[in-house]
């Protein structure tokens, strides 16, 4: 008697356990993962908004092959260990394609889980070169160029346009910043045209950077290439200018953010930063920004257009493939052009977007202006 009860309970349980994932989907589930709370939320939340707008639009037009698109939004606070939980949760919930994650580290931790479940992932912001170049992540795509491309742009600009001979390379010890700085150093060393006078990391959040600033000054560098985000960049530039140094400051996408200009104020003037090619003349981009203003009442934040593009590309690929199967979606991504706010793009074998690249900008009168 007893045994049979246990047995039947187990049977029911097993049944549930096995049945749950196979509940046939009559919606396309688009997962959105990234930092949605905590200190990095400002990088992750714009992608949620972008996905919402895209999905709304797709559903209003009748969905994909008659199926509505459903959003599954999960927070990973940019931590690898949380990201594995996030990914498992999305996979458990039967996600078909994922827009995310935001940080490269979290993305790396989450990708094997998606890969195992046959889910294609597209990040609007994870720029670590390994993600595409290592070949370890067949299910990964991104709508942003990788760090080495960015470092290349910075170095080429410093050497060929500005003709600099002595450059200090500074980074914020983080995944993104340090990776970028290492590429910059490598390209500089290889070029043989300029000397790297200093290669050093600063501690994010430290009370004061004046010691590092003094060191830059002593190294005799004509310019600083900084890899990292805007809070550190604005601290360094502020302290350099306060020390009456007019060293040229070249930085990256993490600094090509309006917040940088707001925070650094007058000291931001003249700073160079690489960023995705200017797409503001693109009608889709204009529309995306306007839609955001209309719906959320504010300007979109970081990586908004990349996320918007990623959501469009993913859903378009599912549409073209008529399937959510990983191979089919991959094929669709690699063989179809799609119009997005960052231009008409398609993806190459390793997962980078063709046609997405970087341009150099400079702060002029409190605004980033593309340097032609």
């Amino acid at each position: 008697m007893k045994k049979s009860v246990v047995k039947s309970i187990l049977a029911v349980a097993l049944g549930f356990g096995l049945a749950a994932p196979s509940l046939a989907a009559d919606t396309i589930k688009l997962g959105v993962a990234g930092a949605h709370s905590g200190d990095l939320a400002s990088y992750g939340l714009p992608s949620v908004n972008a996905a919402k707008l895209v999905v709304e639009q797709v559903n209003a037009n009748g969905g994909i092959d008659g199926k509505m698109v459903e959003l599954l939004v999960e927070d990973d606070v940019c931590k690898p260990e949380v990201a594995t939980n996030t990914a498992t949760k999305l996979v458990s919930d039967g996600v078909h394609v994922v827009l995310g994650h935001i940080c490269s580290g979290a993305t790396k931790a989450a990708l094997p889980i998606y890969n195992n479940a046959g889910v294609v992932v597209m990040s609007p912001s994870a720029t670590n070169p390994d993600l595409t170049q290592s070949g370890d992540y067949p299910n990964f795509y991104r709508t942003i160029a990788s760090d080495d491309a960015q470092a290349r742009t910075e170095v080429d600009f410093a050497l060929n346009v500005l003709g600099l001979k002595k450059i200090a390379v500074i980074h914020d010890k983080g995944d993104y910043g340090k990776g970028l700085a290492e590429f910059a150093k490598m390209f500089l060393d290889k070029s043989g045209k300029a000397e790297v006078t200093l290669f050093e990391g600063v501690t994010p959040g430290a009370v004061d950077y004046s010691a590092v600033v003094q060191k830059i000054k002593r190294s005799g560098a004509e310019a600083v290439i900084f890899g990292g985000y805007h809070p550190e960049a604005s601290k360094i530039i502020t302290q350099m200018r306060k020390k009456r140094m007019d060293t040229i400051f070249i930085s990256d996408d993490g600094v090509k953010d309006d917040t940088f200009i707001k925070v650094a104020g007058k000291y931001a003037e003249g700073v160079y930063a690489t960023g995705p090619k200017d797409t503001s003349s693109n009608p889709l981009s204009k529309k995306a920004v306007e839609d955001h203003k209309a719906k959320f009442g504010s300007d979109p934040g970081a990586f908004y257009e990349n996320a918007y593009a990623a959501a469009l590309a993913l859903l378009n690929a599912v549409d073209k493939a008529d399937s959510t199967d990983m191979e089919a979606v991959r094929n669709a991504l690699q063989n179809n052009d799609v119009d997005t706010p960052v231009g008409s793009i398609r993806f190459d074998q390793i997962g980078d977007a063709v046609g997405v690249g970087f341009a150099m900008y400079q702060v002029k009168d409190g605004q980033y202006v593309e340097v032609k």
Binding site: G38, D39, D208, S210, A211, Q214, K215, K242, A264, G265
Partner: protein, 300 residues
């Protein structure tokens, strides 16, 4: 030589801020034997309050001097109020509980306050209005010592002297010293120990707030996370100098600031924190109670 001087002043500025925050740690530790983990957050709240007040006033067009004074006052008042409230809510009920419980309560409070400011204000860095203008007379030295460095150094010195006088000569100062040395006896000579503890939190918090405002204005930006790192460093400074000792906190702050500055300047900023903590370990190995701490019997 000029490089050395530059690094020296940079270390002093850093050290002053550490010292201002470390005072709060050391005073609270001296009096109730608790590592007040939320102290870094009080510093952050002070900086944030001065940010809000200064920005509002500058929008309404107040003159700079009145902005500085009012923002500083508001920072001190509100930080002190937070310090007082935190003690009353999170520490007082635990005064007779195991010490670790109070420590966990403090960690919880720190997490709470951080997220409170995050939600109430913003997770992004905000530009802090420049409260300390560049003085003309400082222009010849500007490449070595900035005007704000000077103001920070002077303010710190002033505060230290004021605090020392207060502790040494005032009635409440004496009560604080007595309470920190023997709480039961302090009660028995008629000291209202609860009041003394509250006052300690109030003073410590106000000092941290002033530090917060100065440093935020010095580096020109602020967010909710600044308290954590500054707090850990200041706590290190307090232990380095001998926790519980007021001159020790000041000395510890400067030693730590200078070490970091010189380590960055002559070695590498990659390992600046490694140097700071290694120095701490070394000093504690040879002087287990810190530079100026007294080697007392273990408190239970």
């Amino acid at each position: 030589m000029e490089y050395f001087t530059e690094l020296f002043f940079s270390g002093l500025t850093r050290g002053s801020i550490y010292a201002l925050i470390a005072l709060g740690y050391t005073m609270v530790y001296g009096i109730i034997g608790l590592i007040n983990f939320a102290h870094g957050e009080i510093y952050m709240i002070g900086a944030f309050t001065s940010f809000v007040v200064a920005t509002v006033l500058s929008i309404y067009g107040f003159p700079l001097l009145s902005i500085v004074l009012l923002a500083g006052l508001a920072a001190a008042v509100w930080s002190a109020s937070y310090g007082y409230t935190v003690e009353k809510i999170a520490y007082r009920p635990l005064r007779h509980a195991p010490r670790l419980s109070a420590l966990i309560s403090a960690i919880g409070m720190s997490i709470f306050l951080q997220n409170y400011v995050l939600l109430a204000q913003s997770s992004e860095f905000q530009p802090f209005p420049e409260l300390i203008p560049d003085f003309d007379f400082m222009e010849p030295f500007a490449h070595v010592v900035g005007s704000s460095d000077l103001v920070i150094l002077l303010t710190t010195a002033l505060v230290m002297v004021g605090l020392t006088m207060l502790i040494k000569f005032s009635r409440i100062g004496k009560a604080m010293r007595a309470t920190s040395q023997d709480r039961t006896m302090a009660m028995l000579v008629g000291i209202d120990v609860n009041k003394v503890i509250s006052v300690t939190f109030i003073i410590g918090s106000a000092l941290a707030a002033i530090g917060g405002m100065l440093i935020a204005s010095h580096i020109g930006q602020i967010n909710f996370f600044i308290g954590f790192i500054a707090g850990i460093k200041a706590f290190t400074a307090a232990v380095l100098g001998g926790i519980g000792s007021i001159p020790g906190a000041v000395l510890g702050g400067f030693v730590l600031g200078l070490t970091e500055s010189f380590a960055t300047g002559y070695v590498s900023s990659d390992y600046e924190d490694v140097f700071a903590f290694t120095l701490l370990v070394l000093i504690l190995i040879f002087k287990p109670a810190g530079l100026l701490g007294r080697e007392a019997a273990e408190k239970v």
